[in-house]
């Protein structure tokens, strides 16, 4: 078995520990930036929905300012954002390289995306249900936590699945700018050293990761839909 592997993927056998490290780094970047941007993005998404015209906490100023900030960040291509916010990254985490350096641009790139995804998931909720909750005496926070988040849960899970998958893609890009992770690994060994087996192996690993996430997301979305 080992001989066979050494024959078809000679470089991979040597780089095996490196690759495990890269996988771990990718998980680290996706997990940390994913959690932070999910929290921030969910808060922003909820804010967008409740402050919009006719919302339960209608506030045109907040809505329009937040909407514009989100649009600005969404319109900057990630690769440019990576470079553009370097000073901010240095300020926040003390470094611009390594996985820690990648976290800041990942969070900035991902949060506005999640905010819009959560917004559209929450806009799907029947307005009548919210009205019914109001008629029963629920206040804005009761409605957000006990009605909107619960009724919007399948949609939220669905959009988080999409987000995590695209976050893997973003983390690969961040990796090339001194980050680490699978993107960095594949570019360095697979592309720059022409080690095709490394490139293929990385793609297979990514394929598995993405499919597992999609599969789990679909199941969760399904069991929360009634």
């Amino acid at each position: 078995m080992n001989e066979f592997l050494a024959k078809i993927a000679p470089n991979l056998v040597n780089l095996y520990p490196e690759m495990l490290k890269a996988i771990f780094e990718t998980f680290y970047m996706v997990a940390v930036s994913g959690i932070i941007s999910t929290v921030a993005g969910t808060i922003m998404g909820i804010t967008l929905v409740v402050t919009q015209e006719g919302g339960i906490l209608e506030n045109r100023i907040v809505n329009s300012i937040l909407g514009k900030i989100i649009n600005i960040f969404r319109s900057i291509p990630f690769i440019i954002l990576l470079a553009a916010i370097i000073p901010l990254t240095r300020l926040l985490v003390g470094t611009t390289i390594g996985t820690r350096g990648a976290l800041v641009p990942l969070i900035f790139g991902c949060t506005p995306f999640i905010a819009r995804q959560i917004e559209s998931a929450l806009l799907e909720i029947d307005k009548g249900v919210i009205e019914a909750a109001q008629s029963m005496g629920s206040g804005p926070f009761g409605i957000i936590f006990r009605v909107m988040l619960l009724e919007g849960l399948p949609g939220i899970i669905h959009s988080l699945t999409i987000t995590i998958i695209s976050l893997i893609g973003l983390s690969a890009m961040a990796g090339t700018v001194g980050g680490g992770g699978l993107g960095d690994f594949a570019i360095r060994y697979g592309y720059q050293y022409f080690q095709t087996d490394v490139m293929v192996a990385t793609i297979i690993v990514l394929l598995i990761i993405v499919n597992v996430i999609q599969f789990v997301g679909d199941i969760l979305s399904k069991i929360t839909t009634h």
Binding site: V129, A132, A133, M136, G137, G139, R146, L150, H226
Partner: protein
């Protein structure tokens, strides 16, 4: 119980303003079922939402159970809303909660123990006859069952008032009847004041004691249901009533004529009248009486009796044949006996007489 005083609601957008409610005054008494009927767009939904302030009136006062809701702080208003239950045309149940959880929703976070909530919810579900569907999600229920869950949920806070916003409009006639029966039972047993918004005269006929008719944001007529049914004044009320009694067909028939030649021919000495009677008086007996007494021929072209609030209300369209004098005397005699008579179609040489459709 509920007082609406000088309620105005104006929607303004950049392009235009819409007056949804114009100076609405209503008093709904404790323990009654009050109907508000109007066509779609008349402002009924806005009006019922002004009672629990889901819509804030532009001006005017809303007083429910002695409390002026228009003057309460948001927190106090929410507290007051707990005592004003509401059910909706589209039921508005939470899809991701079971029947039990939907009904338990208003009870949670109020300091009740788990056992208290469970007991209350099960009692309510028994009341609406859904105790076998406790763990089911709303998507597995029929429309009528969903509305029953809605009713149970609206009753969870022991409200004093129940607002029904087109509660039966999405249901088939049979289910409508069963929901109306349930509402009536709740009104009688729990002494709940119920406000019903509808465009269906059948609903008003079935359960309401008093009714207001709304048209283009204005209350055009209100009163006791029997008075409204026997003696509607506003044109729109007449329209609603005639659709219930199916007069329209017979008026069409009289106006346009029919294949039955002898009906459309109203010749000299003939009158077509609508005779309306309520309660124990039977139109039939009076018709044979006038026929004998005044020597006229009376043939019934159309007849209809509706039972409203246990009172039979009858309408007959009758062709009277005789001399002008005897017809006049007959009509005077009927009116003396408090039977309402209205000319529908008559024809002779005087031009005050015409075929009418009111």
């Amino acid at each position: 119980m509920i007082w609406l005083k000088n309620i105005n609601k104006i929607y303004t957008s950049k392009t235009n303003t819409v007056e949804a409610l114009k100076n609405v005054n209503l008093h709904i008494k404790a323990g009654e079922i009050f109907g508000i009927i109007g066509y779609s767009g008349a402002g009924k939904s806005t009006l019922i939402r002004c009672i629990n302030l889901l819509e804030k009136p532009t001006s005017g006062e809303v007083i429910v159970n002695g409390k002026n809701l228009t003057r309460l702080s948001p927190r106090e208003l929410r507290k007051s809303r707990e005592k004003i239950g509401m059910i909706f045309q589209n039921f508005n149940l939470m899809k991701n909660r079971t029947v039990f959880e939907n009904v338990a929703y208003p009870l949670k976070r109020k300091g009740f123990s788990k056992n208290e909530i469970e007991k209350k919810v099960l009692d309510l579900l028994r009341l609406v006859e859904l105790n076998d569907k406790i763990k089911v999600y709303p998507s597995q229920l029929s429309g009528g069952q969903k509305q029953r869950v809605g009713i149970a949920r609206a009753l969870a806070n022991d409200p004093e008032v129940l607002l029904c916003d087109e509660a039966t409009s999405a249901l088939d006639p049979q289910t409508t009847q069963s929901i109306l029966k349930l509402l009536k039972g709740i009104n009688e047993n729990l002494k709940l004041t119920i406000v019903v918004i509808t465009h269906q005269m059948e609903v008003v006929k079935e359960i309401c004691q008093r009714v207001a008719v709304i048209d283009s944001g204005e209350i055009v007529e209100q009163g006791n249901i029997i008075d409204i049914f026997t003696n509607p004044k506003a044109p729109i009320t007449k329209k609603f009533i005639s659709s219930l009694f199916h007069y329209e067909k017979i008026y069409d028939f009289l106006e346009k004529g029919s294949s039955m030649g002898e009906l459309k021919q109203v010749t000299q000495g003939e009158s077509i009248v609508k005779i309306s009677f309520t309660g124990q008086k039977t139109g039939q007996a009076f018709i044979s009486k006038i026929s004998r007494k005044f020597k006229i021929d009376a043939s019934i072209l159309f007849g209809n009796v509706e039972i409203i609030q246990n009172v039979p209300i009858g309408n007959l369209i009758v062709k009277l044949n005789g001399t002008d004098e005897s017809i006049d005397n007959s009509i005077a005699y009927l009116e003396e006996n408090s039977i309402h008579v209205e000319y529908v179609g008559i024809k002779n040489d005087s031009d005050k007489l015409k075929v009418g459709s009111n």
